[in-house]
């Protein structure tokens, strides 16, 4: 069995709007190994979600379009599949959990119906068998009183419960890859921890690989094996989770880690990255981060650096390190 489950090569997803072309994802390359968790971190608008949606080809088109790159999943390029083939991957081999549990479930069907529908679609079971399976998976994700709750409508459940239902639905067909797009952002802090723990437990139980999208470095530290940091539609740093926290190289990543409070360190002044997230319609020339970067020099303003491997499994996209090589 191959070690690599998913490999994204030079993905470009652009949005063609009235105001101009938004290069939401512009040349992203990533890798996810079997059974491992990759975290994607970045500010809003950095292209994290678009990358995730591109994997399942769920980009709304128009205005969005995947204009280049390859996404190999179990050796197969997802971008070359026809609509019917990609539908067999969705929900079965790759599932997705979304940010907003409040609006991500169809309000006019019961949660049981939603899960049974998924199971029947991919496993060819009859309604009764599918219902059994649905009950089982709902129990696993920790829904109390499942026999009753399976016939509830989404509005009758709390946000945390709905996110558990989303997870149950995503895992109902034992996918090899789970994409979680900010699964806890919309939830209360106490519920957040429960959901993260649940995903972590289920990942081990089902040997599922996970892509976790978040802007919360704490969650990354807790869950991930590898981390990709995105900025303005590009990956700026990719490393193992410890490497990234201990010796991050890119100025943006360093800024990010300084902007979260930590308990285990001496009281240090919390820092904020100066400047604003760049307008994707009008990116600065050269490295898109240079206007906010305190290290920026001549070359940063004219030339966009390449993502290069500094040491084993540690890649960074910054002119500060191109020189070293």
């Amino acid at each position: 069995m191959m070690k690599t489950l998913l490999e994204i090569k030079n993905l470009k997803t652009h949005f063609f709007t009235h105001e101009g072309v938004v290069k939401a994802v512009d040349g992203v390359s990533l890798k996810v190994d079997r059974g491992k968790t990759l975290g994607i971190v970045g500010e809003s608008g950095s292209g994290k979600s678009v990358t995730a949606l591109s994997i399942l080809r769920l980009i709304p088109q128009p205005p969005g379009k995947i204009i280049g790159g390859e996404i190999y999943f179990e050796g197969q390029d997802l971008l070359k599949l026809d609509n019917k083939e990609i539908r067999k991957i969705r929900g079965k081999k790759i599932s997705m959990i979304f940010q907003e549990p409040m609006t991500s479930l169809d309000p006019v069907f019961t949660i049981g119906h939603e899960i049974i529908e998924t199971i029947q679609l991919h496993q060819g079971l009859n309604k009764k068998e599918a219902r059994e399976k649905a009950l089982e998976i709902l129990k696993i994700v920790g829904i109390p009183d499942v026999e009753k709750r399976i016939d509830s409508y989404p509005h009758e459940l709390s946000g945390g419960m709905r996110q558990r239902v989303m997870i149950a639905m995503a895992l109902s067909c034992h996918p090899t890859l789970l994409i979680a797009d900010e699964p806890t952002t919309a939830l209360d802090v106490t519920i957040q921890a429960q959901i993260i723990k649940l995903i972590n437990d289920l990942k081990k139980r089902f040997h599922t690989s996970v892509i976790l999208i978040t802007h919360d470095l704490g969650v990354i530290a807790e869950m991930c094996d590898y981390v990709a940091v995105m900025y303005a539609g590009q990956v700026v740093e990719y490393a193992e989770v410890f490497t990234l926290f201990e010796k991050s190289l890119h100025p943006y990543t360093q800024g990010l880690s300084k902007s979260i409070p930590r308990l285990n360190k001496e009281v240090e002044k919390l820092q904020v990255i100066p400047g604003m997230v760049p307008n994707l319609l009008n990116l600065p020339p050269g490295c898109p981060f240079h206007p906010r970067c305190s290290y920026n020099f001549e070359k940063c303003r004219s030339e966009n650096p390449e993502l290069i491997e500094i040491e084993d499994s540690h890649l960074v996209k910054c002119h500060l390190f191109t020189e070293k090589r």
């Binding site: 769920l58 609509n83 969705r90 599932s95 997705m96 479930l105 169809d106 309000p107 006019v108």
Partner: protein
């Protein structure tokens, strides 16, 4: 569910009371002596006195209302000045024709309107979308009576495909059972009568269906577009459902919620339209009856029709509310 319906029924009482008061005042607001208004200008003194006696017209107005209301609740809507027939019977005779016409039209309007709206929304900005919505725009601005005349002229007079007026060909002898022509002709096995009454139904139905069809198409489209933008649609796609399932099962079910309201509201327009359509096509229904009654100053008949129409409309709104609960689980029965 049962309690919800009971509650809605109780809520109807004040509205129906108001409707009855308005209908009652019609006679009293009309110029002249109410007894003469009810009996007609050419009635004999005896008749007028009998009416005065029956409705207690010398008593205080509130007493008069109660006397009148009791009669109405017993099903007595008075006698037509023109025909001297019971108004209840005249309405009952004409009701099946109006019912067939409005139901047939509404059926057309809902089916075609919803389909056009769904297609338009799922292919937003396509040529099909633009043509449907262009037609719908003309549809909502259409003077029903003119459309009826145009249909009559093109398909009846010039092409001679369909009959231009009446409920059934006069050449056909026909036995009435329930008053519903389509039903009766089937029950008696009179195939010729069935075809003839169906052919007579086509043009008026199209004319009457146009406005609700256009309105339904427009609201279905905008409602669908709104639903298709929502998060759960992405969830359904991520599950691996086909686009057909996403649109026709999940999106349509959600989009129908506002559409049902509009369908309910359109029944009012439909009844207004029926008055015009029946006049154009000489359709022997309640709409034409009320127009004739107004022109002949046949107040008891007008009053009866108003009560009847308002009652129908209220019932339709009640049905709408109940259907609503069935398709939207978020509405509580309580």
């Amino acid at each position: 569910m049962k309690w919800y319906i009971i509650k809605r029924l109780l809520m109807l009482i004040p509205v129906l009371l108001g409707v009855s008061i308005l209908s009652f005042s019609l006679i009293h607001l009309a110029p002249g002596d109410p007894a003469i208004t009810i009996a007609g200008e050419h009635a004999s003194i005896q008749t007028i006195n009998a009416i005065r006696e029956k409705y207690g017209l010398d008593k205080p107005i509130t007493t008069q209302y109660w006397i009148w209301l009791k009669q109405v609740l017993k099903g007595d809507l008075g006698r037509s000045i023109v025909s001297n027939e019971s108004v209840t019977k005249e309405i009952a005779d004409r009701f099946p024709n109006t019912f067939e016409l409005t139901m047939f039209s509404m059926f057309f309007a809902i089916i075609i309107g919803c389909i056009a709206g769904i297609i338009s929304a799922s292919r937003q900005y396509s040529i099909l979308d633009y043509s449907f919505m262009g037609l719908a725009l003309f549809g909502v601005s259409m003077p029903v009576f003119w459309l009826g005349i145009m249909l009559m002229m093109i398909f009846g007079v010039f092409l001679k495909w369909l009959p231009i007026s009446g409920r059934i060909s006069m050449m056909i002898s026909f036995q009435q059972i329930t008053g519903f022509y389509l039903l009766d002709s089937l029950l008696t096995g009179n195939f010729e009568a069935f075809i003839s009454s169906l052919r007579h139904l086509i043009l008026p139905s199209i004319a009457l269906a146009t406005i609700p069809m256009a309105t339904i198409a427009r609201i279905t489209r905008s409602s669908m577009l709104e639903v298709l933008r929502q998060d759960f649609i992405r969830t359904e796609r991520a599950k691996g459902l086909s686009e057909r399932m996403v649109i026709y099962k999940h999106a349509v079910r959600n989009a129908m919620i506002p559409v049902v309201t509009v369908i309910g509201l359109n029944f009012g327009l439909l009844l207004s339209g029926a008055i015009l359509t029946e006049t154009v096509f000489s359709w022997p229904g309640i709409g034409r009856y009320i127009v004739n009654a107004v022109n002949m100053r046949d107040y008891p008949a007008v009053q009866g029709c108003i009560l009847f129409f308002a009652f129908m409309f209220v019932i339709v709104n009640l049905i709408t509310d109940i259907v609503y609960v069935y398709i939207d689980p978020r509405i509580h029965y309580g």
